[in-house]
Point group: C2
Chain length 263, copies 2
């Protein structure tokens, strides 16, 4: 049923292709081969990530180092999507992002800021930097806050870390504004990925480990969506009150097996 | 009308008695004398503050230095109220508060924490400390977050600063919990102040500069409440959609003039 009439696949990256770890990450068993098989099949493919701790160049470099057949032009990520919005609306950002993401905004005018762009800034989330971003926002007649994702937290080898969504909420509350979220699960973000692939939502399947941001977001755009039982998947996801994937698969390799059988 | 049948006064401190500044603060004209006149009149008096950057001892010391007749036993503040709740419920806090507030929790068992107490930690709001407080919370079966206030921001001589409420929202979102707020505008906090004064709500008047936390909070407890046109007062407060003070006064001295005339 769920694998019928598919022309394109959207893959989440962290937790689907690889698990992040102290050394940068290790591929999930079968995923390197699964990406090759998708490409060989003639299906369209797009990598759809909320990664904001590195430029796409460095992100792709890391994945190629693990053996994945991937290039920059195949990646949909929040920072380039934000750049597009900034240009479209004549916005000049004050950036509160990870140092390694800054080059993505190289072409953007950042003088005399009229908005704040917030990413997972990690060590850059200092008291001083948060107050500074806040002052830029509260100084505007109508504050514009663009957030690269709305994640609550994530796991690193040295423990759980607050994600960008928590800091977004802090600034939203202090300034009494609502952030515009770029990245999954925003509809616009999935639609860009579909457009870049040239496949309509009805013929695309999203494969991800995040029940809300990957599965729920893609389904709201009219796509089918699978949850893999790797990465941040937890058994309790299968009882999620709002989101029900079109199917569960043990991992990407199994999803690709089933999809390719139906072609 | 509004000054009839009064037996006790609750005074906010910052913005009513003094304005904070680089040198610690300066008394608002007429306020030192106004406090003396209240005490001479036989009215009951209670200082009701959300201050969490100093122990009551140091807070009172600063005010006495400005000439105010005030002592520790007359002050209702969030930290001692929190200590009371902690003891009552057998809670052992992980503290994310200002260094100068820590002594207020000297008597509290802090081993093996089963809740987080959040204050305006200022420079202690580091990335590492926020992640640590988050991990303590997310590690509990049912996270308990106690927040010493819910302010959005405040002004210091070197600019606006995010207040405890912003960080409360970040942790609330990340852990999917609702904080218990100690301090104004919590009903329980005002009720403690009334009990300590021994005056029922109907015979008490709150005087503050904060339309929501002072005026709105006190009125919800059945008190009358005045807004002074000092401190953080802004003309736009007079069009507040939800809260309407029983009266506006230019400053504490004017409020005391009117109240004492009616006695």
């Amino acid at each position: 049923g769920w694998a019928r009439a598919v022309r394109g696949l959207l893959l989440d990256v962290s937790g689907v292709l690889y698990d992040s770890g102290a050394d940068g990450g290790v591929p999930i068993a079968g995923s390197v081969e699964a990406v090759r098989r998708i490409k060989a099949s003639g299906l369209k493919l797009r990598f759809c990530t909320n990664e904001t701790q590195a430029t796409r160049e460095n992100f792709v470099k890391k994945l190629r180092g693990m053996g994945f057949d991937i290039c920059v032009s195949e990646v949909t990520a929040p920072a380039p999507a934000a750049c597009h919005i900034l240009k479209e609306r004549g916005l000049r950002p004050h950036l509160l992002v990870h140092d390694d993401l800054v080059p993505e905004f190289a072409e953007v005018d950042k003088t005399n800021p009229n908005c704040v762009v917030l990413g997972d800034a990690a060590e850059n989330f200092t008291y001083a930097n948060l107050n500074e971003a806040f002052r830029v926002l509260i100084g505007m007649e109508k504050p514009v806050l663009i957030s690269l994702g709305r994640g609550r937290y994530y796991k690193e080898t040295d423990g759980l870390k607050l994600d960008v969504g928590a800091y977004m909420k802090a600034l939203e509350y202090a300034c009494d504004v609502q952030a515009e979220v770029v990245g999954k699960p925003s509809e616009r973000f999935f639609e860009s990925a579909l457009a870049e692939m040239g496949v309509p939502a009805e013929q695309a399947i999203m494969i991800g480990d995040d029940i809300v941001n990957d599965v729920g977001g893609a389904q709201r755009c009219g796509m089918r969506a699978l949850q893999v039982r790797t990465g941040k998947y937890r058994p309790s996801d299968e009882n999620h009150p709002d989101v029900k994937p079109d199917a569960y698969v043990n991992n990407l390799a199994e999803a690709v097996d089933i999809i390719l059988q139906q072609l």
